[in-house]
Symmetry: C2
Subunit: 449 residues, 2 copies
């Protein structure tokens, strides 16, 4: 969908005040995301004009796709009589995200536009820490009572459904607000109109607490193929719901973050081109320095073995190949394990199974590579003894790398540190120095230096 | 949820044949995923017993979570009178996944259980290649006509809704099967019962072709926050729909795959513990060998410079640190770009913007690291000249790594090769050898060797 053409058409329709039907026809065929892309390119005046002329549901949803500052800017310049219902129509999780991103004084100004009871709800939502279930949830769900029948429920949906983010599930609560059942809209429609919700609702409900980490929420929702997940407090009172579209965003964000961490950089908070050069530099230099300091000891190791090195210069030829292979083995294991930990496939209690698996695989890999390394050395025409040294060293280095890379992510996960900090560069640097020690010690022993 | 306890209870209920209500009460509170976890642990006899006693919708959904071989095994041993409606009740994409994974003869045996028209549909679905929109879609959607009113549509849903995978969207098709509109169930319920679908349906629909890559499908669905996406052929005829739960799985799988690729291993097709040691070995050794062969030339580079090396042994101290830093910079850039390409944030036409951004960042990083490298060398007490050599080398190496890592993923993406093949180990190996050439050339020039 080409947003530039739509933008031109919309600008034209906005100017053509004599024929309001034109604008209406245009936007009727557009989705909120498309409208948000157009809004981005319009002047403030045009933005205000367009937003005020859109049906309120469409206006609210389109606004939600924009950056917090832009949302604020538009809401602030609209007449209160338009801004107030618009803000109320926006889904509560989007409102909270915006309010937390702008200045508290600006947030207060917007909060004042809301009716008191809704303002309290939003204020409460704002207290949940980032990256938790609470920060993802919306209060725009549909609740019903167990003694309502299908007919009554549908007429309730007709009354409040406009504000709900999702109507696929109806949440059955009791008089204390406790969640006692969940019913899908499909079941209500399929059942006879006089069937009470209590009869068709599932009573043993999968819920999450507000302080659960968002990654875990995503794992639960995707495991069960749900479209939404209810959030309850310790008294099992329904506080809100998390919808699958927000979880999709979480999954994407978490994967991007882990990616960047595994590449040895602090994760970027914005898409690539929105990140300034200075920001890129800052995110990268931190880890480069850590790695530099971590790697600097390789120079000391080599200095310590400079006698050996100057006696047999040939040994130095294989330094990059040996450390490289150790690092490559480590990268393979660490990435696999970090991902498996993130997906909940592996946990700390599996540590011995993981070690066993990796050591056996490491043996196979080390023997294969050792064999090839020996041939390579012979082909280069180095002394036979040096060939044996590199060949045996690589076996030990691969086993050592396997052990370190199998243990480290699991221990970090156990210590509640994100295992993705064991990035590829970090593990490579870690096994570089130890690899050199293994290499030169093997050389000393075998060559009697 | 502890599946062992549930399993015990279910086994007990299965044996307790006098009180069938007990089993009914038990499974009524369980979700399909939970039942699948229990099924996994039961004997074949118990599996058959449980499946035959479950309500058919629940039985079908539970089966869908199991591995294809297990699904086949159960279906094959059930009486035809149970297996046939069960297979028909399963969502068509799950059936297709199973049939494609088992032996063609086994697949044929199952297909024979289906009524002819449905068998044709399944046969057609099986022709779509893996990882495309076609392979993700299900034909279990609800279609309606534009002239139906809300009342008629609801009664249609009551008739066919049991088989539909999602009822949140109703697809409006014309007499030729062309998709002319989409309506959400919410809108139908909110509208007056006599409103015709044509009045409330969105006519300008976002659709995807059956041969679109699944990654792109996932990007579209997550951008628009849809719960399902219609798949059409070139005549705009509705062929099926893709639901968000399958897209969530795709997003997770693609991220896992990219992760493992970036770690320098061929992606595993199964979760970690389900992958045999031999399989792990096979997936890893391929890339280790490629990298080994790629890295082997570093030995030649060093051999070529062995004169320089033997004159100033100190130069060898910094080999791992220099190649390591080059590799780290490259890893940071490559992971960021591969992810950005995968998410559609960056494309080939941005290549000059990317190069510019990375070169400027590289300058900043190279200058900072060069400064620190100089201090480090001085502290180690090497000759001042060697300090200058390592310091200048690192600046050039960082710039060179930045350039290579900025260009390579974009070019591969352009050539329709998955840019994730430029894994961290690969880019590290690539810049290792060139880094050494830069280092020793700088040394020769500056130290007049």
């Amino acid at each position: 969908m080409d947003h530039t053409i739509i933008q031109k058409e919309i600008e034209f329709a906005l100017q053509n005040k004599k024929n309001p039907q034109h604008l209406f026809d245009l936007v009727h065929s557009l989705r909120p995301y498309d409208i948000s892309e157009v809004l981005r390119e319009l002047s403030l005046e045009e933005q205000l004009d367009l937003i005020s002329k859109l049906p309120i549901v469409l206006a609210a949803e389109s606004l939600e796709y924009l950056e917090p500052e832009v949302q604020y800017h538009i809401l602030r310049h609209l007449k209160d009589s338009i801004a107030s219902p618009l803000l109320k129509q926006m889904s509560s999780d989007a409102v909270v995200d915006m309010l937390l991103a702008i200045h508290p004084l600006q947030a207060q100004r917007l909060l004042d536009l809301l009716p008191e009871d809704y303002r309290d709800k939003i204020n409460q939502l704002m207290t949940y820490p980032e990256y938790t279930a609470g920060s993802l949830m919306t209060v725009d769900y549909i609740a019903a009572r167990a003694y309502w029948n299908g007919e009554q429920t549908l007429s309730h949906i007709r009354k409040v459904g406009h504000e709900a983010e999702i109507v696929s599930y109806i949440y059955v609560t009791d008089i204390r607000g406790e969640l006692v059942g969940v019913c899908s809209l499909k079941e209500i429609i399929l059942a006879r109109p006089d069937t009470r919700l209590g009869e068709i609702a599932i009573q043993d409900i999968i819920t999450v607490p507000a302080d659960m980490e968002q990654e875990e929420v995503a794992n639960i929702l995707s495991r069960y193929d749900f479209y939404a997940l209810p959030v309850v407090d310790q008294q099992n009172r329904l506080k809100g719901i998390i919808t699958v579209d927000d979880v999709v965003d979480v999954i994407q964000e978490e994967a991007t973050e882990d990616f960047q961490k595994m590449g040895g950089s602090s994760p970027l908070s914005e898409p690539y081109f929105k990140t300034s050069t200075w920001e890129l530099f800052r995110k990268r230099i931190i880890w480069l320095l850590v790695l530099f300091i971590g790697g600097a000891y390789t120079a000391n190791v080599l200095e310590k073995f400079s006698d050996t090195l100057s006696k047999i210069v040939e040994l130095s030829f294989f330094i990059p190949l040996l450390t490289g292979t150790g690092g490559n083995t480590a990268s393979q294991i660490v990435t696999t394990l970090v991902r498996a930990l993130g997906m909940g496939e592996v946990t700390f209690k599996d540590i011995f199974r993981v070690i066993r698996k990796e050591i056996i695989t490491g043996c196979l890999l080390g023997l294969s590579l050792g064999f090839i390394m020996y041939i390579r050395a012979v082909l280069m025409g180095v002394q036979t003894n040096v060939g044996w040294v590199v060949s045996i060293s690589i076996l030990i280095i691969v086993l050592w790398s396997s052990l370190v890379s199998a243990i480290l992510p699991l221990i970090l996960h156990r210590l509640k540190v994100d295992p993705a900090v064991v990035s590829n560069p970090l593990i490579t640097t870690l096994v570089d120095g130890t690899g050199l020690i293994i290499y030169f010690t093997t050389a000393k022993l075998l060559l009697h230096l």
